[in-house]
């Protein structure tokens, strides 16, 4: 007997008395064959969440099982492409149905007609383990796509095609497993989205992800293979920060997941990334980027899946030996999708209506980050940077709190900084990074031993200012002694001249580590020399009059990234002017 729909409630569809479905199996619902997934089974009723709008479904419409879990097609053509939450190619859908997405689209995720230049790297008789590379394809001008044996497959090569042009489903290599079965390897493979792809073994993260954003690289660094959360109320610049990181961080591949966010924002990403040229390769950013766009008005169940789709794509490229960074904007929308579906299933809610399994789902997701020896024999990493949109800008809500437990970097965005248009609005008192000890050896080796000292100097200043501001709030700054006024003055310099960074300024949007270090050095040098002036009981105003504070504040604009020798003049100028005051 064929299975038919029994009930419909929002995206949740039920089937009566069906035995053959398994949990998380992918199914086709109704005559239009909408994609769905089995999320609950009782003897009496099977519950399915549908990834598309369920309007018009009626009892008696057919439901067809696929006997596989929700999975992705992995192969060349993922980069420089944009998908919805369940890997449907949005550009192809546009060609097919126009500007509005209709239901039941059955376009192949990857282009099956395009011919790829394949170079085969194995020969007959080779033994291939799961994850081994058997061919390479230049996917974009800068990324070589490595075709890997499915992780659960291994065997001896029995036939090999010559190098040449092949389509996605053409067989290139045939292997025979130990039971004597032949497997044909094409340019693609499938992988279920909710299962992490296996690695040989995990490594400690010891290399930072360099982002060119000063507050992150120096004060709250993240490692390659690390996890970070960016919580912030609306208008504090979460998306802006994500965009900056996606544009400038030194990962090989960027997976950008727009999960329940704005449509106009996605079209901005599309436009900006194709216009932006990566300075390291001279190619457009889209060459190393794949976008997953599930805007807030697209079906809620697909929003829930989009996060897993993103991380699976990221793991696939990690397995080739790349450093991948995934930007998830925003994980709160994903948690809310969980809540919405949980509510439809009438599950017992825990905190704020979120299901009790929210923490375990979050930890499963963040644990898929990491640096590892991958099966193909090299090393790769997945870095997760997740935005969190706390309800009512209240960081004590469940999603923020649980995310905090499973991530090691916390970049708290602050409303009052954003109101003052201090961007990135990362609050230096609430944020933290747990990667210092892992990363310090790298910084010492690559930026010099003084980098770590300079960083401590800067954080100490900010902390001291924080303490003094408590007093200033009560009695005003005029009554403070000059040495404390100096701290406030220098801390202001750190805030405006160093932490604040202008994403729209040619020189300031990305700052190399070397310049970051020299900026810290110049600020602290000015501080040390000014202290000497104050110690002589000379009023602070004498230093203010020299204009040094303004001059150092504007270093970020005035010294181009490729003229770092100019810092020497600044240091000499400080010495000269201070010496003049000291007489």
């Amino acid at each position: 007997m064929a299975n038919v729909i029994y009930g419909v409630n929002g995206p949740v569809v039920t089937v009566k008395a069906a035995k053959e479905f398994s949990m998380m199996e992918m199914v086709y619902v109704g005559k239009e064959r909408l994609v769905g997934e089995v999320i609950g089974i009782t003897a009496d009723l099977t519950t399915i969440q549908c990834y598309e709008n369920t309007t018009g479904l009626k009892p008696g419409d057919p439901i067809e099982g696929t006997h596989t879990q929700m999975n992705l097609l992995l192969g060349p053509g993922i980069l420089d492409n944009i998908f919805d939450g369940i890997e449907r190619p949005l550009a192809e859908i546009e060609k097919e149905v126009g500007a509005f997405i209709n239901r039941g689209s059955s376009v192949s995720p990857l282009d099956t007609e395009r011919e790829w230049d394949v170079t085969v790297t194995v020969k007959v008789g080779d033994m291939l383990e799961g994850g081994a590379v058997y061919a390479t394809v230049p996917e974009t001008a800068i990324i070589t796509h490595k075709l890997m044996v499915h992780p659960y497959l291994s065997g001896k090569v029995t036939a090999v095609k010559p190098d040449g042009k092949y389509k996605l489903h053409d067989t290139i290599v045939t292997i025979e497993d130990k039971y004597g079965n032949n497997h044909e390897l094409t340019l693609c493979q499938r992988w279920p989205i909710r299962t992490p792809r296996p690695v040989r073994n995990r490594l400690t993260p010891t290399v930072p992800l360099i982002t060119g954003q000063r507050v992150i690289d120096t004060l709250f660094p993240i490692s390659k293979g690390g996890t970070a959360a960016i919580p912030g109320g609306f208008g504090t610049g979460k998306t802006m920060t994500q965009h900056q990181l996606a544009k400038w961080c030194d990962a090989d591949i960027i997976v950008y997941v727009g999960c329940g966010e704005r449509g106009n924002e996605m079209s901005q990403v599309l436009q900006e990334f194709s216009e932006l040229i990566d300075p390291k390769t001279g190619r457009p950013m889209t060459d190393r980027t794949t976008l997953i766009a599930n805007t807030s008005n697209m079906p809620v169940a697909a929003r829930e899946a989009s996060i897993y789709t993103g991380i699976t794509l990221a793991e696939y490229y990690r397995d080739m030996g790349y450093d991948v960074a995934i930007m998830a904007d925003s994980t709160s929308r994903w948690a809310e999708a969980l809540r919405e579906i949980s509510g439809r299933l009438e599950e017992m809610p825990a905190e704020e209506g979120f299901p009790a399994y929210l923490p375990s789902r979050l930890s499963e997701f963040y644990e898929r980050a990491g640096r590892a020896d991958v099966l193909s024999g090299s090393q790769g990493s997945v870095t997760i940077i997740g935005a969190v949109s706390p309800q009512g800008s209240d960081f004590s809500e469940p999603v923020t709190q649980n995310t905090k437990r499973f991530t090691r970097c916390f970049w708290a965005l602050d409303k009052s900084l954003a109101y003052a248009r201090h961007y990135p609005a990362i609050n230096w008192n609430d944020s933290y990074s747990e990667y210092f000890t892992d990363l310090d050896p790298w910084y010492v080796k690559n930026c010099g031993a003084d980098f770590v000292e300079l960083r401590s100097g800067i954080s100490a200043l900010l902390q001291e200012e924080n303490r003094l501001m408590e007093i200033v709030k009560l009695i005003g700054s005029d009554v403070l002694p000059d040495d404390q006024k100096l701290i406030i003055e220098i801390a202001k310099l750190v805030r405006v001249g160093f932490l604040q960074q202008n994403a729209y300024h040619k020189e300031d949007t990305y700052v190399p580590l070397e310049k970051q270090k020299l900026m810290m050095k110049t600020i602290l040098h000015l501080y040390e020399r000014s202290k000497a002036v104050i110690a002589e009981n000379i009023p602070l105003n004498r230093i203010r009059e020299t204009g040094l504070f303004e001059k150092v504040t504007k270093i970020k604009y005035d010294i181009p990234n490729d003229h770092l020798e100019m810092f020497d003049e600044y240091l000499a100028d400080i010495d000269e002017k201070i010496t003049a005051i000291l007489g």
């Binding site: 805007t295 509510g343 704020e352 109101y419």
Partner: protein
């Protein structure tokens, strides 16, 4: 053959349960005929085998277990559309109430719409000149944007909306192609009347479509009103290539109607009793703003919502803020000082502004100026809170200058007449004039060449 189902099994609020129904589809519209001859419409909101739950738009007053007969119509809620709809007044479910007869449909559309493919969107970059300094300079409205007004009961959001409609200028050849869709959800009769009068006085009534669900109209109809309005807007914008400004007031009433419906359905409540899907539900409307490839029109939304107890963290403004591209926040304190429009500039924001201003759109100095105004005004707030502790006399000279700047900024920049239409140049020049009252060294967001040009030392 059309089957009629006699009687209902259960009545609960606006919901009725009907048993033994064959072939009902999800979200299908049903006609319910009462014994007294009146007809009501409803929508299938849940199906379990042959038992369906129907939401009755006009409410269930007079309905008993056996005085109805129900007929399935076979299609979801659709809205008849034609170019003649412009200038008409409709009720909350899209039926004409101006006595000018039915709308002869050229086409019909499902009011729920479908999602715009992100690939097909055109990134909005052309600004709309509203003639209001605080909006044009600091939170510029962009064509294709959704920019809500966060207000509170008794504040002048309606006046502001009317002023925007009256003054909004779309430059260039598209000027005559401009229209307004106005959706009232649960507003008072007087307010609806105020809007109608104002549109007439401004001479724009012939380009306005009004959908009115007043506060004494059925709440279920209220949940349809914005969707009908947006269906009209999409038709006019994307098929007739018009630039449509959609004003929806009051979104809080809409959300409350949704909560009422959800709780009568017995759903598990989320925050403050609002259903867990409030975010998705609001997004399904707000996201219908934008511009698409293949059409020269645009849908711009200005939803107005009253924050209960002026609380911006209340679920409705909170979720709205996460979906919309910025917000204009009105402030009761400013209004009490007689400042109109009482726009609180610090929490107000337009996310699409950065790409729609500057050289080629407004003026090259716009971005730097607005940045500096925000930063300086934020310092005014700091100085004020300090002054409230130690007294204004004790402040440093710089802080005193900030206090004075803040006063001038609110009185002359934010404050402007209801009939005063300021050009973008006027607004920007006024901004520079105010900044010039501060010491030049305090202006750290502007580079020197720009200061040389615009800073007027006194």
């Amino acid at each position: 053959m059309i089957i009629e189902y006699v009687g209902v099994k259960e009545i609960n609020g606006s919901l009725v349960v009907i048993d033994g129904v064959k072939g009902a589809s999800y979200e299908e519209i049903v006609d319910i005929r009462l014994e007294n001859g009146t007809t009501r419409q409803g929508r299938v909101v849940q199906i379990e085998g042959d038992r369906i739950v129907v939401q009755v738009f006009e409410g269930t007053r007079d309905v008993s277990l056996d005085n109805t007969s129900t007929r399935l119509t076979g299609h979801p809620m659709e809205m008849p559309l034609s170019p003649e709809i412009v200038g008409r007044i409709l009720d909350g479910a899209g039926r004409p109430i101006d006595g000018l007869g039915d709308i002869y449909p050229v086409t019909k559309r499902d009011i729920n719409g479908t999602a715009i493919n992100p690939v097909s969107r055109i990134y909005p970059r052309n600004y709309i000149n509203t003639g209001i300094s605080s909006i044009d300079t600091l939170s510029t409205l962009i064509r294709g944007q959704k920019l809500p007004i966060f207000s509170g009961s008794g504040m002048k959001h309606n006046e502001l909306a009317v002023q925007i409609v009256r003054q909004a200028k779309i430059q260039g050849a598209d000027e005559h192609n401009f229209g307004v869709v106005f959706a009232a959800m649960g507003v008072k009769n007087d307010v609806a009347d105020y809007f109608r009068r104002s549109f007439e006085e401004a001479g724009v009534m012939q380009r306005v479509v009004m959908l009115l669900n007043l506060s004494n109209d059925p709440i279920i109809e209220r949940t349809l009103t914005p969707r009908c309005a947006l269906t009209v807007a999409e038709y006019l914008a994307f098929e007739l290539n018009m630039h449509i400004l959609v004003i929806m007031t009051d979104m809080t009433s809409y959300a409350e109607a949704l909560r009422e419906f959800s709780s009568s359905k017995g759903e598990i409540p989320g925050r403050k009793g609002y259903p867990g899907y409030l975010y998705s539900d609001l997004a399904s409307m707000y996201e219908r703003a934008g511009m698409i490839k293949g059409s020269t029109g645009s849908v711009t939304q200005i939803p107005i919502l009253t924050m209960p107890n002026d609380d911006i963290t209340h679920p409705v403004p909170d979720l709205t803020g996460y979906i919309t591209e910025g917000q204009i926040v009105l402030d009761r304190g400013l209004q009490a000082q007689g400042i109109y429009p009482p726009v609180n500039v610090l929490p107000s924001l337009s996310r699409l502004m950065k790409d729609g201003i500057g050289d080629g759109f407004t003026r090259a100095d716009h971005a730097a100026l607005s940045n500096q105004l925000f930063a300086s005004y934020a310092k005014v707030i700091d100085a004020r809170s300090l002054a409230s502790v130690i007294g204004e006399e004790e402040l440093s000279d710089t802080d005193k200058k900030y206090i004075e700047f803040g006063r001038l900024f609110e009185q002359t920049f934010v404050n402007q007449g209801f009939d005063e239409n300021r050009s973008i140049d006027q607004s920007l020049d006024l901004g520079w004039k105010l900044l010039s009252t501060l010491p030049r060294a305090e202006l750290d967001r502007v580079d020197d060449s720009m200061l040389d040009k615009y800073y007027q030392a006194t």
